[in-house]
């Protein structure tokens, strides 16, 4: 297969995923913002697949599609659907966070505008920058979802990433792999150009937003359908945690061990420990870098690292290992360092708009009164944007816990992380190992839901406009 075909397939899958995710997420976001009591819970559910390792989503979807995956357009369609399932909820949260202020809508109404006119001429133009930035994020994720492409495409859907992997690891042909990796980078850059044309700017990705004034049937139906599909995927994981191996209790208590016949290099609990340690380091780095970037003229380019394929990272790690001592390249801190590359853009998206919204007058006044830099930071800036910072910390924590691609290349042996261990347990026959994998996945999903949901109770009293923070 020629490189051009690979480029076209990869670009098509990524763009189609982004367009469909936006088309679905936009009306669902309107529905979401019209919810009252259930809004927090529903947002939590909608965000969970965004944070799940892709192989779990693939495993849940495969049985549903069965032999239909043999047809190549069905396989491509199912990959796009999986991307949409993972990202549409995220788009909905973005839409809900960027709703037009109610007084503007009411003013439009008074002037005789219809609902469609309001959406088209008033709301959409205001939301377009946020939506295209989020759409860019989805396109970047969808161009780098190797595991999902192999699982749902069954190896017959070829993308740049699958060919990089098979050139580097099966044919041991590093020059070809390197050339394809360059193409992958070129594709990422062209996505940025397109997003820039659409006027994308990093805008509040999560926020309280205004409540929608009207409910739409379409948004409601799509929203309920999306929530249903997500619950179905999660339910499949829970059901297997119950039915496989030693049953739920047995599977969970087995997590303290190393799997049936000790097939793991470490216990699942130890793997969780590694994941938590990596998470703390990666989140701290990302928050500090995002904070630093948020006052600088950093635009869309901050999102760039999300477009770096984990397969490309693996390739670079492989080549570097030829020149760097393994004591160095094999250190546990390499993974959180690389993860913070992907997490910084997420943290930036949440922190920067809030920090920029702060009035510089307050800071200047304090400075005139003799406040030191440390006092400015500790007493004024940090408390003011505390909630977005906590929200950014939570989202990056979950993204770090669920990160699979870079970890699979950079965390070996006793340094393996929770998602790697889930996958490893599934790579040996036997119901006991599968049951443990699903029990570990269930715990992961439960923790993710709990964190997203409990964060929604943090109120924003001090932030200007009340339009920042992860909530819901």
């Amino acid at each position: 297969m020629g490189s051009l075909d690979l480029l076209v397939t990869t670009a098509f899958v990524a763009l189609a995923s982004a367009v469909v995710a936006v088309a679905l997420g936009y009306p669902v976001g309107h529905w979401l913002s019209s919810l009252r009591r259930l809004r927090r819970l529903v947002t939590g559910v909608l965000l969970v697949p965004f944070l799940l390792p892709a192989f779990l989503v693939g495993l849940a979807l495969r049985p549903l599609l069965g032999d239909a995956l043999e047809t190549s357009w069905v396989a491509v369609g199912s990959i796009i659907s999986a991307h949409v399932l993972m990202n549409a909820g995220f788009l909905a949260a973005v839409t809900a966070a960027s709703m037009t202020p109610r007084d503007q809508i009411e003013a439009g109404r008074l002037d005789g505008a219809s609902t469609i006119q309001l959406r088209w001429y008033l709301q959409l133009p205001q939301q377009l920058p946020a939506l295209s930035a989020a759409g860019l994020l989805v396109a970047l994720y969808s161009a780098t979802s190797y595991g999902l492409v192999v699982t749902l495409g069954q190896g017959s859907v070829r993308t740049l990433e699958t060919e990089i992997a098979s050139a580097a690891l099966q044919r041991l042909d590093l020059p070809t792999a390197g050339f394809l990796a360059l193409l992958q980078c070129a594709l990422t850059i062209s996505f940025f150009v397109v997003a820039r044309r659409l006027g994308a700017t990093p805008t509040v990705l999560f926020g309280e937003g205004e409540s929608a004034t009207s409910r739409s049937w379409v948004g409601g139906a799509l929203g309920i359908g999306l929530v249903g599909a997500i619950l179905w995927v999660i339910g499949g994981v829970f059901a297997r945690a119950f039915s496989e191996g030693a049953g739920l209790g047995g599977n969970v208590s087995n997590l303290a061990g190393r799997g049936a016949r000790d097939i793991l290099n470490l216990s699942v609990v130890e793997a969780l420990g590694n994941s938590l340690r990596n998470m703390v380091v990666a989140v701290l780095i990302s928050l500090v870098v995002a904070w630093w970037l948020s006052r600088r003229r950093a635009g869309l380019l901050v999102l760039f690292p999300i477009g770096i394929s984990p397969v490309v990272i693996g390739l670079v790690a492989l080549v570097l290992s030829g020149y760097v001592s393994p004591a160095l390249s094999g250190g546990w801190w390499v993974l959180p360092l690389v993860q913070s590359l992907f997490l910084t853009p997420l943290a930036f998206q949440i922190i920067a708009p809030a920090r920029r919204a702060m009035s510089p007058d307050i800071l200047e006044a304090a400075q005139l009164d003799g406040a030191s830099r440390a006092q400015l930071f500790g007493l004024i800036e940090l408390p003011t944007v505390a909630r977005p910072v906590v929200a950014a910390a939570a989202l990056t924590s979950l993204a770090s816990l669920g990160e699979f691609g870079a970890a699979s290349f950079l965390a070996y042996g006793s340094q393996q992380t929770l998602p790697l261990v889930m996958f490893r347990l599934m790579s040996r026959p036997g119901s006991e190992n599968l049951g443990m994998a699903m029990a570990a996945a269930s715990i992961f999903i439960f923790v993710a839901l709990l964190v997203v949901w409990s964060l929604s109770f943090l109120r924003s009293d001090s932030t200007p406009g009340g339009r920042d923070g992860l909530v819901v």
């Binding site: 044919r171 097939i263 080549v319 160095l328 070996y412």
Partner: protein, 317 residues
Amino acid sequence: MKTIALSAITLMALTGCQTPENTLVRLAAHDSFVIGEELVAQFESETGYELEILRLGDTGSLTNQLVLTKNAPVADAFFGIDNTFLGRAESEGVLAGQASAIDYSDVCFNYDVEWFAQESLTPPQSWRELVNEDYRNLTVITNPNFSSPGLAFLASTHAAFDEAAEVESFWIALEANGVKVAGSWEDAYFSDFTRYGGNHPIVLSYASSPAAEVLEDGSSGSEALRVECFRQTEYAGVIEGSANESGAAALVKFLLSPEFQASVPEAMYVYPAVPGIEIPELWAAFAKPATSTIGEGLDINANREQWLGDWSAVFDG
């Protein structure tokens, strides 16, 4: 990418490189390598060496890294390059002397015993029968481009037939008989195999897999088709130009010892390569190795690209 390279280089400069002492033996292994703590202790007390294990990804990635680092070896010994990659390691001059076979596993089809009993269908005896009408739409294999059992089965077909045309017509017939191709072993086994809720009662796996599928009443849930299987043999050896060649040789000798050999079935789902080692009871009953194997004489390294290209022409075309 630049950021990663730069930070790695900076950090390298900051920390400096570790110089191994003569008592240190470094083993480069793939990620599936498992050795018990008591065995490590035994090796260290018997030989006076200290063992350090580096895990370098899967077999392909391990081989690649040893080739890339051959001028400044990262380890003294390696474990886990198999017969599909050994030719590459040899031709690149990674090995000092001969590699020693440590363990093997047989890539065989497994079938769901209960499913065939319920359907009153006679299970196949060999993979050659999978093109028969009786077994239409029943089989799932893995894509040889991404999966090592898939490549092993592709190699089996090249070993089994004399002419390339016969191999091609077998694959065309298999495709026409509705064989399903999964992206990975995990997908095939835990998603397509009938024992895990799929609708294919015949799955490409290993001769040892049935040991993990013993039912509560003690009967076997699955069985392997044990003829004409492909034997994947994993090797260990001393790395050319390493800092501690004598320590590496002592380690390879230890990997061939009865104590380590007896541990490999449970630890890695493979059979000991040294003859005369007793295998666990469960394995003796449910996971016997293949009765016949083929493909040992193939030059996989030289043919891989051609075979994968021909295979893809049948399935992707």
